[in-house]
Structure formats: structure tokens, C-alpha cells
């Protein structure tokens, strides 16, 4: 049995990040992933430190830039299980452009977003998902911007696996994580994560009184229904796999990659270079 060790963290006691880390470990172990073939990728932020706290390969890059690094690592070596584990500011703010475009690319990576609806590491400014009217150290009279709905956006942009989960519901979260990791294309899970230090609005109690599991007979292949449920984000918040569809992955569509050994295992062929040179003679 493979074991994923954890290391000492720098998170505040009671933070929602702890259970996400624990669920991730359990999910990987239950999926019998070999730690040496797992690559954890983060950007910058509190959530983005998760890759450092788990015994696997880790790449902590720049704020907002975890997706491009992660997809390219997967392009280079398909054998790696690549998981991006990072915050909502990182994923939807600084990294918003990459978020949209990597949905289009559909490289087979998993994206866990610790959505605490606030910037934690920089001490509590509004994030793209902060509720309208919420007062922060910068949004001193209350945030006036419409919060982004990441799951709705992901479905609209064409993502093949879109889920929402809650860090306070660990059994459910672990299950969703396992499904996301085994999904062949790009899978996004927006995880509601209470920041006990800076977000006094979206607390454990706030989420607990609102979240409910999508029904047993919910049809996750119905896009319109999925969008409707994705928009449900007030008194009641559905959690589970909102939308799922089988789509061709980047590796299947790219003819250099399709059905071949990983790029990193291929040797350069000098006869090809000679041929290419001849075209200029």
C-alpha cells in the first residue's frame, strides 16, 4: 500500500485547507497511486502550499501560473498523474486566462481549487469569488463587483468534468477527488474552503447550512441542467459532479503524442535533421 506522508504546514489552526490535504492523501492512497508518479503543482498562496505538504513530486511555481506549467509537464510525460492544487485567487484571478484556455486544451490533469472566497496569504482582500457587499481591508465599503461563478464558467467554456465540493464534507470530497483524478481529461473541482482568519462571511456554519448533495438520479450529462444547478449559489448550494462528458484529450488529439510513448522517452533522430537540412539545399 502506498503511503502519502504529510509535512508540517504553515496554515492557521482550523483552516479548511487541512481537510482538503487529508482528503487528497486518502484519495491518492485509495486509488493506489504511486507517490513517485504523482506530480503536485501549485501557484502561490496559502492553498498553493499544499504540494509541499505531501510526499510526491512537487512544482510550486508563480502566482496564477500553475496551469501552464502543469499541462506542459503532462504533455511531456503522460505517465505522471498531474494534480494542480491551489487557490481561487491563483486559479481565477491572476490565472483566469489560463483557466479558460486550458479547458479548451483538455490536457488530462486534475485541478483542485481551494475556494475560500478571499485572498488568504496577502491577508484578506477580495478574490474573484468574494460576495458582493463583503467588506475587506481593501474593499472598505464592500466589494461592488459581481462574483465569478467558476463552475458555471467551466461548464460554459466546455470543460468535460466539473464538480463542486465542500472541505467540511470529507467523505464526499474524497469521493469527488477520486472521480476527478481518474477522469481522462481536464477535471476541475471547486472546493468550498472556510478561511477562518480572513473570511468572516463564508464560515463552516455558513456552508453547512447551505450545501446539499446532488440527488442520486441527477443526470450529470445534461448540460443545461448542470448550468442551472451551477447557478444555484445562495441559500442552497449543490455539491457533487455537476457536469461530466467524455471528450477527446489533448494527448488523443495531438498527432505527435497520440498512442505513443511519453515525449520524454523519445530519442532524437539525426536522419530527420539531415533530411530537413536538405530541403534548404
Amino acid at each position: 500500500m502506498c503511503e502519502f506522508k504529510t509535512y508540517e504546514t504553515a496554515w492557521c489552526p482550523g483552516c479548511g485547507n487541512f481537510s482538503i490535504l487529508q482528503c487528497l492523501k486518502t484519495a491518492l492512497e485509495e486509488l493506489k497511486k504511486d507517490p513517485y508518479e504523482v506530480l503536485m503543482v501549485g501557484g502561490i498562496g496559502q492553498a498553493a502550499k499544499t504540494p509541499q505538504y505531501i510526499s510526491a513530486n512537487s512544482f510550486c511555481g508563480l502566482h496564477g501560473r500553475s496551469l501552464p506549467a502543469a499541462v506542459a509537464a503532462k504533455i511531456a510525460n503522460e505517465k505522471l498523474t498531474v494534480i494542480v492544487d491551489t487557490g481561487d485567487g491563483d486559479s481565477y484571478g491572476e490565472g483566469g486566462n489560463h483557466f479558460i484556455h486550458n479547458i479548451r486544451r483538455n490536457v488530462g490533469i486534475t485541478h483542485f481549487v481551494h475556494d475560500n472566497q478571499i485572498y488568504g496569504l496577502t491577508k484578506g482582500q477580495a478574490s474573484p469569488t468574494t460576495s458582493e457587499g463583503q467588506i475587506t481591508g481593501v474593499q472598505v465599503t464592500g466589494s461592488v463587483n459581481t462574483p465569478l461563478n467558476p463552475v458555471l464558467m467551466a461548464i460554459a467554456a466546455g470543460a468535460g468534468f466539473v464538480a463542486r465540493a465542500f472541505s467540511g464534507d470529507t467523505k464526499h470530497l474524497t469521493e469527488i477527488m477520486k472521480q476527478a483524478i481518474t477522469y481522462p481529461g481536464y477535471a476541475i473541482v471547486d472546493i468550498l474552503q472556510p478561511c477562518v482568519t480572513f473570511n468572516k462571511v463564508n464560515t463552516y456554519a455558513y456552508y453547512k447550512s447551505r450545501v446539499y448533495h446532488l440527488e442520486e438520479d441527477y443526470d450529470s450529462s445534461n448540460k443545461l441542467e448542470a448550468m442551472e444547478r451551477a447557478m444555484e449559489f445562495d441559500d442552497r448550494i449543490p455539491i457533487g459532479v455537476l457536469y461530466q462528458e467524455q471528450k477527446q484529450t489533448f494527448h488523443q488529439k495531438n498527432i505527435v503524442l497520440a498512442g505513443r510513448e511519453p515525449l520524454v522517452e523519445r530519442q532524437r533522430d539525426s536522419t530527420v535533421i539531415k533530411q530537413l537540412m536538405n530541403e534548404f539545399v
Binding site: Y36, N57, F59, L62, A72, L80, N254, V264, R268, V281
Partner: protein, 556 residues
């Protein structure tokens, strides 16, 4: 040596005519050197190419014309003052010019009769071959590779028709260049990357760097690597870093403004010690500047781009041959030292084509990216070593974890704020510079050993300076010499100190407004230039222009 201009509006087929003509000239044995001057628009405007050919190596363009193919009246008006006494203007009868130098032919009509107006370019090519007395026995064979089979016959006929329409005016014996290659700087760079075993290239389109991406994309299936058009330059460089971390040789390319966006990730490559080759095909700035024109004004920017301090190397490409071999070297150095290597090219070099000896790939060794044997024990990605280089493993290839971080980190790759570890890690990274210094290539010297006047240049002014030095030395034997830098950062100083100590005058020749190399040299060596020739109008300086400036005492 002869020099002809092909000019017209964008979309009139200048590129095809020029591409075909240069191959035909080269196949006939001539050395060919072509530059492109075009506007940032898809249709209309005024674009031209200068094709210079002869029986010896040519390193610079020239603005003095032996003739021109004018596709519109503007071309005649704009360039006729550059025609030599016996120069000609080849154009269609539909042009209004009454210039006595004009050779007016009903090329449009002739082409229509052959079945397609587009073959008028081939008629013009036939005319040129005849005017310069160039034999046509190779035309059919060569055209096979240049035009689609269905149009081959028509084009060969068109060349012959043009050939029969005029009398020979000039003559020049061909050289021995028919077996050499004719290639643009950007394609040569791309070919170098392929020879170096590139596995991943990511970029966002930006003139004039796009030619690299286009060429690589066109060969990616054949040569087995992935080219990805990123959503922006930031993604492009972070992708290249991600791929490189995972063990694929990776490169990213752009031009000035795109490089600005990549700067933070350049530092990521620096602190995370992930190999990366980053190309900047310079164009005039700031901001969007002159998109399709040339300049060398990013030197100071790229040597200091990104916050903080970390070792890096900057290689400026001097010519088409360099573009190939130095790109391979860039991959080797980035792999060996785990530092970012920046290649500086520019529009002049990237878009110009030159005749080069087929590249020798027999000695290229592709270093194994990872130390695969390292298997036992806890692996330390950032192990403190004597020379600063830590053993690099590829994730997933052994049972060790490979942990990298953009934050300051300990030997394992985990975040730290310890003052001691910070010092150790900074020292470890900076130590690599000492080793790197031993690898530097001294600038290339040409001209007279004990010259009175020493020119200093870098990158693509290599060719024009070389031509200027040889013209000037013919007039005033023994007076001129030049050093052209390829490795610019770290700056090799040995030969510079030696030559500078003997020269009476030191003149830097650069395509920028401030003399960036001059400043760098002063900063690093204390050597002062006594004069400068600077050009920053977006057009490359030619050998002849340098000569003229020197004769007039035009250096500032």
C-alpha cells in the same frame, strides 16, 4: 556582386518571386544574401526585398541597386534614385513610369496567355537570369521543388519566355555555392533547436519571432516534438518551464513586448534551476514600437530582466550559421548549468536569408538531461555542491521526489525563510557563473591585427561591420579592425582588453539610440569608446553606410 530590389504592395507576390529567384541564383552557383523590408500590414503599403548575389561570401545588404523588379509605380518612385548608372527597372507595361531605365514588358498579358496571371513573377525571373547572363539548364530541376507539380510546366515556360524577351547586359562568373543551403536566420535557429533535440516549443504569435514557431510547427510531426500556441506569453514560458521540469528539452520564443511579459517566469527558471532556452527576436520598442522592423535595443533589458539576482547567459546571434550552432550550444549550457539561456536575434537576421555551408551535426552530443543512476536515499534537488550544480532528476523516472519551488527553498526544495539557507542557496546559484565564465566564447576579430581604429559590435551587425572593415582597409591599409560579440552576458573581456589597449580609437556600432554594448563594456571593464555609430530608425545599417559614416567622420 550584384544587387536587385523586388518591390510592390503587400499581397502582390513579392515573397514567392524572391524565394524562387534566390534559389535559382544559388543553384546556379552564386552566393545569395536577401533582406526583407516590409510594413506591418497584410495588403497594400510598400514592401521590398533586396537580393544581393555574387561569387564570394556576402555579409551585408546594400542600398545601391543594379536593377529592380517594380510591381507598382511606388516602387519606381521610391527607389529609382538608388539605381546605378547602368541600372534597370523591370516592370509591366501597365506601370506609368517613363523612366529611360525602364524595361517595360507586357508580363501580365504574357502570363495570361500561359494560363495564369500569377506566373508573371516567373517571367520576371527569366528576364533577370538573362540580363545577368545566367545559364538556365538548372531551372527545370530546381523549379520542381519550388512550385506545385500542376503549375510546374507553366512556370518553366514563363521563365523561358522572360529569358527570351531581353538581351544580356551584365556578366559575373558563378561561385561554388550550388550545394550550400539557403536559409533564413529564424529557420536556422529553429533547425538548431531540432538538432539539439527539442521536445517542446511554446509561443504566442508576435512579429518577427513567429517565423520560428511556424517553421517548428511545420516540422513537428516529422521530427517528433510538440509545438503549442499558448494563450499568452506568460503561459508560453511557464509551459516551457513545466515541460523542461518534466524532462523535455524546451524552448520558448517571442519578441520584445512578449519578453516583457515573460520576465517573472524567467526568474522562476533562475531560482528553481530549471533549464530553459528563451529566444527574443528583437524589434524596435518601446511597447509595440515598429512591429516588422529591426533594432538591437533589448540587450540591457534581457541581461537584467526579472527581480532579484540569478545567473543567466545571453547569446546574441551574429549570422545564419551562428543561429544554428549557438542555439544548440544554448540547449547544452542550459542543461549543464540549469540556468536560463537567452538567445537574442532580431528582425534583420531572423527574416534575411543567406547562403550557408550545410551544417555539420556529426559532433553534436545531446547530454542526458537527468542523472538516471541516482536512485538511493533521499534525493535533494538543491543539494549544496562544490560547483553549485546539483544533480538533476526527472520526476517519475526514479523513486525519488523532485521538488522545485519559486520561493526560496532548502536543499529538498521546500520553502524556507532561514537566513542561513538563503545565503547558501544564493551562493550556490551564483557560483555557477564562475564555471560559466570558462565556457565563454571571445568575440570574433576581423581586420588588421594592430589596427588604429577598433570597431565594437554585437549580434547581427556582424556582417555589415565585416564588410565595412574590408572596404576601409582596402583604402587605408592596416588601419581598421573589429570585435563582434556573440556571447554578451557574461561578457568575455580577454580579447577586448588586449585589442582595446592597442587601438587609438574605439567606435561602437549599434542598432540602438544609447549604445548599450558601449555602456556594458564600460561597466565591466572601464574601457571607453571614443565614438559611436548608432542607428535606430528600424532599418539595418549596411556595410556601405558604416564606411560612409567613417569617411565623413560621422560618428558621434
Amino acid at each position: 556582386m550584384y544587387n536587385i530590389l523586388v518591390g510592390g504592395a503587400a499581397g502582390q507576390g513579392i515573397d514567392t518571386t524572391v524565394a524562387n529567384l534566390e534559389v535559382l541564383l544559388k543553384k546556379a552557383g552564386y552566393y545569395v544574401f536577401t533582406i526583407k523590408d516590409f510594413m506591418s500590414r497584410v495588403r497594400g503599403g510598400h514592401n521590398f526585398s533586396l537580393i544581393r548575389f555574387g561569387n564570394e561570401i556576402i555579409t551585408s545588404h546594400s542600398n545601391e541597386l543594379d536593377g529592380m523588379i517594380a510591381l507598382d509605380d511606388d516602387t519606381v518612385e521610391l527607389h529609382k534614385q538608388n539605381l546605378k548608372q547602368d541600372g534597370f527597372i523591370l516592370c509591366d507595361t501597365k506601370l506609368t513610369t517613363t523612366d529611360p531605365k525602364a524595361i517595360k514588358l507586357n508580363m501580365g498579358g504574357m502570363a495570361k496567355e500561359l494560363g495564369n496571371v500569377r506566373v508573371s513573377g516567373s517571367i520576371a525571373i527569366g528576364v533577370i537570369l538573362k540580363l545577368f547572363g545566367i545559364a538556365t539548364d538548372h531551372v527545370e530541376e530546381t523549379m520542381k521543388n519550388l512550385v506545385k507539380e500542376a503549375y510546374l510546366d507553366m512556370n518553366v515556360k514563363a521563365v523561358r519566355l522572360g529569358y527570351e524577351s531581353v538581351e544580356t547586359r551584365f556578366s559575373i562568373t558563378p561561385g561554388n555555392f550550388s550545394d550550400w543551403m539557403i536559409i533564413s536566420g529564424s529557420k536556422s535557429l529553429a533547425l538548431g533547436a531540432i538538432a539539439a533535440g527539442i521536445k517542446f516549443y511554446s509561443a504566442y504569435p508576435m512579429s518577427p519571432s513567429t517565423a520560428i514557431m511556424e517553421y517548428l510547427a511545420s516540422k513537428s510531426v516529422e521530427a517528433d516534438f510538440v509545438v503549442e500556441q499558448a494563450e499568452d506569453e506568460i503561459a508560453a514560458i511557464n509551459m516551457a518551464i513545466g515541460a523542461s521540469y518534466a524532462g523535455a528539452r524546451a524552448m520558448t520564443g517571442t519578441s520584445g513586448g512578449g519578453f516583457c511579459l515573460k520576465v517573472e517566469a524567467l526568474g522562476l527558471s533562475g531560482i528553481a534551476e530549471i533549464p530553459l532556452v528563451a529566444v527574443n527576436v528583437q524589434r524596435p520598442g518601446p511597447a509595440t514600437g515598429l512591429p516588422t522592423r529591426t533594432e538591437q535595443s533589448d540587450l540591457k533589458f534581457v541581461i537584467s530582466a526579472a527581480q532579484g539576482e540569478f545567473p543567466r547567459m545571453v547569446i546574441a546571434l551574429r549570422n545564419h550559421k551562428d543561429a544554428f550552432y549557438q542555439t544548440i550550444r544554448a540547449f547544452d549550457i542550459t542543461e549543464k548549468y540549469q540556468i536560463p539561456v537567452i538567445i537574442l536575434s532580431d528582425q534583420y537576421l531572423g527574416d534575411s536569408t543567406a547562403t550557408v555551408e550545410p551544417f555539420d551535426i556529426s559532433n553534436i552530443k545531446i547530454a542526458n538531461p537527468s542523472n538516471d543512476e541516482y536512485k538511493e536515499g533521499e534525493y535533494l534537488r538543491y543539494q549544496l555542491t562544490e560547483n553549485g550544480i546539483s544533480p538533476r532528476l526527472i520526476p517519475g523516472k526514479s523513486r525519488n521526489f523532485v521538488s522545485v519551488d519559486s520561493d526560496e527553498h532548502d536543499e529538498r526544495g521546500f520553502i524556507t525563510e532561514s537566513a542561513d539557507v538563503r545565503n547558501q542557496m544564493m551562493d550556490k546559484r551564483m557560483k555557477k557563473l564562475e564555471l560559466l565564465r570558462e565556457e565563454l566564447l571571445e568575440p570574433e576579430f576581423f581586420g588588421e591585427e594592430n589596427c588604429e581604429t577598433l570597431f565594437l559590435g554585437w549580434g547581427s551587425t556582424y556582417g555589415p561591420i565585416a564588410e565595412a572593415v574590408s572596404i576601409l582597409n582596402e583604402d587605408e591599409p592596416g588601419k581598421y579592425g573589429a570585435l563582434s560579440f556573440g556571447d554578451v552576458y557574461p561578457l568575455p573581456t580577454k580579447l577586448l582588453m588586449e585589442k582595446a589597449s592597442k587601438a587609438k580609437q574605439i567606435v561602437n556600432i549599434e542598432q540602438n539610440a544609447t549604445g548599450q554594448l558601449k555602456d556594458l563594456i564600460r561597466e565591466q571593464t572601464g574601457i571607453l569608446c571614443t565614438g559611436s555609430i548608432l542607428k535606430y530608425d528600424g532599418r539595418q545599417i549596411s556595410g556601405e553606410e558604416i564606411v560612409e559614416k567613417i569617411r565623413k567622420g560621422g560618428q558621434k
